[in-house]
């Protein structure tokens, strides 16, 4: 281009006192195939060299070039620079193409002096324009489809350093000049390959470009983009550092981590503290600072695998390592001034040890970039790194666990039925500790927010929050999870499997999985095994299986009844037992996932304490008849009550009915305290059935004359009983029916 212009100049009869100067990109010597040619005709004195400029320009236009041109004196130029920032910056790369060298020199001096005089203001302008440019074309260097010229880390960012270098020491374009090469190559390819002068590196073009630029393999775009992002990142980082130093009020600053402790490359206590401090700032830039200084790649072996590793889909907007920094930032932001008053912020505030959580946030995707499952690989890396940094085994174990399971909450919430009690209980058992669950929740939220705008929607947030809440409650109550409990369940499960080894293992497991954990805790192994056997094959409609055996105490029997669950089943069976002259002193009832009810009653004979096979046969047949509906239980029981009205001795506790929606997320717990009498259990459970309440779990116990019953109920739609009006009616009705009997209240 220069040669052509020189020739043109001579031909056009270049005059004295006129200089043809290249500006902008051309001035820098960077002409892409479709760039503008930016020229200015400088002149001294009053007379514009019109004819000369015309001759040169027409020739250029005829040749098909896009020429930006102006004819100015040096003074004019300075005046323009004062008003127009873009013009000013283009002047900074002025280069003589042809003509009067001294005029060019004057121009350069004038511009230099002008800029130096207002260096700080100039820097602020640069910072503002840069921010604006980034807003429009890309704020991070890792966009899926980066703008090679205007985006963050693009070619213009390199110029920023160049412009400010003369006035601010920290800016040193030489240090990043090498990175520009790949950007130029891509830009040139783009201008060649696309008919338009597009600077946006679209995704479908990335593989072809990579192939043309000599990258091998099936998906050469991966390697190209990795190199590209690495270069863009270096340029971006340097220009940001430059702007932060020269125009802090506009470009902003970020916490500067103390890099000195890392100089030796060893994890001393000082290094560890500096590292943790950097994490706690929650500034992705501060972590970037550490990374740029090589701390991570030097001191955490295999970190470099995820360095600038792109994730080339629209879901992820950052490279893997940048995403990890962002995750840390999002977590800390939960406690920051802009934090919303939501569940995540609350849980963050409650965390006991945030450092562990932040380490997990930093390491959680470190396992990517290899063929292995990234959670498993990440777990190993996290364990190693946490120890290396100088944390104890406890902390290292926690961090590694979090990394291994960082997707657990999100995946379960979106793919499994979070309304299923068994699922929640097993999740709670898997997580095991309240503090761990809280850290996992915060990690889940931060991870999603740091992935991209699509990853954390109110939709997803609602599902995860619900699962978190249910799991938390199960863990906090500690009834069915916890180290001791887990031991018992594990042991019994194993023993049951052994005892039933003659059956299909799949069937045994399905049975146990279909029961809540409370069931396994409620019975010793032999009983558990017997229940399974009794329930095989699953009973059909109207089918009843009964098994009676002596319990430990004399006169007390365990009666197990298995049938297909239906509303009112428990009521019918307890009524049938009462009608058979049997006192129920204890009961546990559970329902299997597939609708098989397992009800175990501890009973004594009401008057006749002796049971023989014949009697049991009769009891069984009464129960069957009751199920079939051929017995009027209400009438029969009323008759019995009249016939055997009992005098009750001693102080009677007042009847209490409590409706509790706190204890379980999955059912309403109705607790009844009352004085025992004939058919009490039947009356209570019949009332529940009449209200359309299905008993999921029942626990009945008798202490002398007093009875304490707990029923876990749901209505027929599967919802809890939480409408106040309805609660009131149920309570009233229960009190009324319990009160009925020989000593009914007025």
């Amino acid at each position: 281009m220069d040669a052509a212009l020189s020739a043109l100049w001579r031909e056009a009869g270049g005059e004295d006192g006129v200089a043809l100067v290249a500006l902008g990109g051309y001035g820098r010597g960077e002409l892409s195939p479709r760039s503008d040619v930016d020229l200015v005709f400088l002149y001294r004195g009053r007379k514009k060299p019109v004819a000369l400029t015309k001759r040169v320009l027409y020739a250029l236009w005829d040749a098909g070039f896009e020429v930006g041109h102006a004819t100015r004196t040096v003074k004019d130029s300075i005046r323009l620079a004062a008003e127009n920032h873009e013009a000013h910056t283009s002047f900074l790369s002025a280069r003589l193409v042809a003509g009067d060298a001294s005029l060019h020199a004057d121009f350069v001096d004038a511009v230099g002096a002008f800029t130096r005089k207002r260096a700080a203001a100039f820097a602020r302008d640069v910072a503002e324009y840069t921010a604006e440019r980034h807003r429009a074309a890309g704020r991070v260097p890792f966009l899926l489809e980066p703008n090679v010229k205007d985006g963050a880390g693009g070619l213009r960012d390199l110029h920023v350093a160049t412009w400010l270098a003369a006035y601010f020491n920290v800016c040193n374009p030489e240090s990043i000049a090498g990175n520009a090469e790949i950007l130029h190559r891509v830009r040139n390819w783009l201008h060649d390959a696309t008919e338009r002068r597009s600077d946006v590196f679209l995704l479908p073009l990335q593989d072809p470009a990579a192939a043309d630029l000599g990258y091998p393999g099936d998906r050469p775009g991966d390697a190209l983009m990795r190199d590209f992002y690495g270069a863009a990142r270096a340029i971006w980082w340097h220009s940001q550092t430059c702007l932060s130093a020269s125009a802090p009020s506009v470009a902003g600053t970020h916490p500067q981590p103390d890099l000195a402790p890392f100089a030796a490359g060893l994890w001393t206590p000082d290094a560890r503290n500096a590292f943790v401090e950097a994490l706690r700032t929650g500034s992705a830039r501060a972590l970037e600072e550490l990374d740029q200084a090589g701390v991570l790649t030097r001191m955490l072996p295999e970190w470099d695998r995820i360095s600038s590793l792109p994730q080339r889909n629209i879901y992820h907007r950052y490279t893997v390592d940048m995403h990890c920094f962002e995750t840390v930032a999002q977590a800390v932001a939960l406690g920051g001034p802009d934090a919303k008053d939501d569940l995540a912020s609350q849980v963050w505030a409650d965390l006991a040890d945030r450092d562990r959580m932040l380490l997990a946030a930093l390491f959680h995707d470190a396992g990517k970039g290899a063929d292995e499952d990234h959670s498993e690989r990440g777990e190993r890396l996290a364990l190693d790194w946490t120890r290396r940094i100088g944390f104890g085994e406890d902390a290292a174990g926690e961090v590694a666990w979090l990394v291994r399971h960082h997707l657990l909450l999100a995946e379960t919430a979106t793919r499994r039925d979070i309304g299923d009690q068994r699922l929640v209980e097993s999740l709670a058992a898997q997580i095991g500790l309240v503090e761990r669950l809280k850290m996992l929740y915060v990690l889940t939220v931060a991870d999603a927010r740091a992935t991209g705008p699509e990853a954390w929607t109110p939709w997803k947030a609602a599902l995860v929050a619900e699962l978190f809440g249910h799991t938390l409650h199960v863990l906090e109550r500690g009834e069915v999870v916890g180290a001791d409990v887990d031991q018992v369940i594990k042991r019994r499960t194993g023993e049951v499997r052994d005892a039933l080894s003659s059956h299909e293992p799949g069937e045994v497991d399905a049975h146990l999985l279909g029961m809540t954990r409370a069931y396994v805790l409620a019975f010793p192994t032999p009983d558990l095994a017997r229940h399974f056997a009794l329930a095989q094959p699953p009973p059909g409609e109207g089918d009843l299986r009964v098994h009676a055996a002596q319990a430990g105490e004399p006169g007390v029997w365990d009666v197990t009844m298995i049938a297909r669950d239906r509303p009112g089943l428990f009521a019918i069976l307890s009524g049938a037992l009462a009608v058979s002259g049997i006192n129920i002193i204890g009961a546990q009832a559970f329902t299997r996932l597939d609708g098989i009810a397992i009800e175990v009653f501890q009973v004594v004979g009401a008057l006749d304490r002796v049971f023989d096979d014949e009697r049991w046969a009769k009891v069984e047949s009464t129960c069957r008849d009751a199920l079939a509906g051929t017995i009027d239980l209400d009438a029969e029981l009323a008759e019995r009550r009249r016939a055997y009205a009992r005098e009750s001795k001693g102080k009677r506790e007042p009847t209490r009915v409590e409706i509790d929606n706190e204890t379980s997320d999955f059912a309403t717990v109705i607790e009844v305290h009352a004085t025992d009498r004939v058919g009490l259990l039947y009356d209570i459970t019949k009332a529940l059935a009449d209200f359309g309440l299905d008993i999921q779990v029942a626990r009945i116990a008798t202490y002398g004359h007093d009875v304490v019953d707990a029923f876990y109920v749901r209505d027929l739609l599967g919802q809890r009983l939480d409408e106040p009006a309805r609660i009131g009616r149920v309570k009233e009705e229960l009190l009324a029916r319990i009160g009925r009997g020989p000593r009914a209240r007025g």
Partner: protein
């Protein structure tokens, strides 16, 4: 031509999707949505603070099909989308005037 729309529980999506394959349905639109019916929203309680959740997350799927396929499609979704507890969702069918495939310009049944 008909549009079958179904609102289902989020975790049922995979199952429903699979159940439609044997019916010959290869494409559908999936939208994350929130709603409520007789299933009420619930209150999350954490540290005594209640976070009322009024709208329950659901997934809405839309399937274009031939009139003759409607019964099978609906049947498949009824089967695979059901849990038996409240909140399972609904299916409805609406008539479609015309359909075009953007890439080829095909229209009508060819575009389904």
């Amino acid at each position: 031509m008909k549009l079958v729309t179904a609102v289902i529980k989020p975790f049922k999506l995979e199952e429903v999707k699979e159940s439609l394959r044997p019916v010959g349905i290869q494409g559908m639109t999936v939208i994350e949505s929130r709603g409520f019916g007789r299933q009420r929203g619930h209150t999350e309680v954490y540290r005594g603070a209640e976070y009322q959740v009024d709208f329950v997350p659901k997934v809405r799927i839309e399937i274009l099909c031939d009139e003759g396929q409607v019964e099978q499609v609906v049947g498949a979704i009824l089967d695979s989308g059901k849990t038996g507890s409240i909140g399972d969702g609904k299916i409805w069918v609406t008539p479609v005037e015309n359909v075009w495939r953007i890439r080829t310009g095909e229209k009508g049944k060819d575009a389904i």
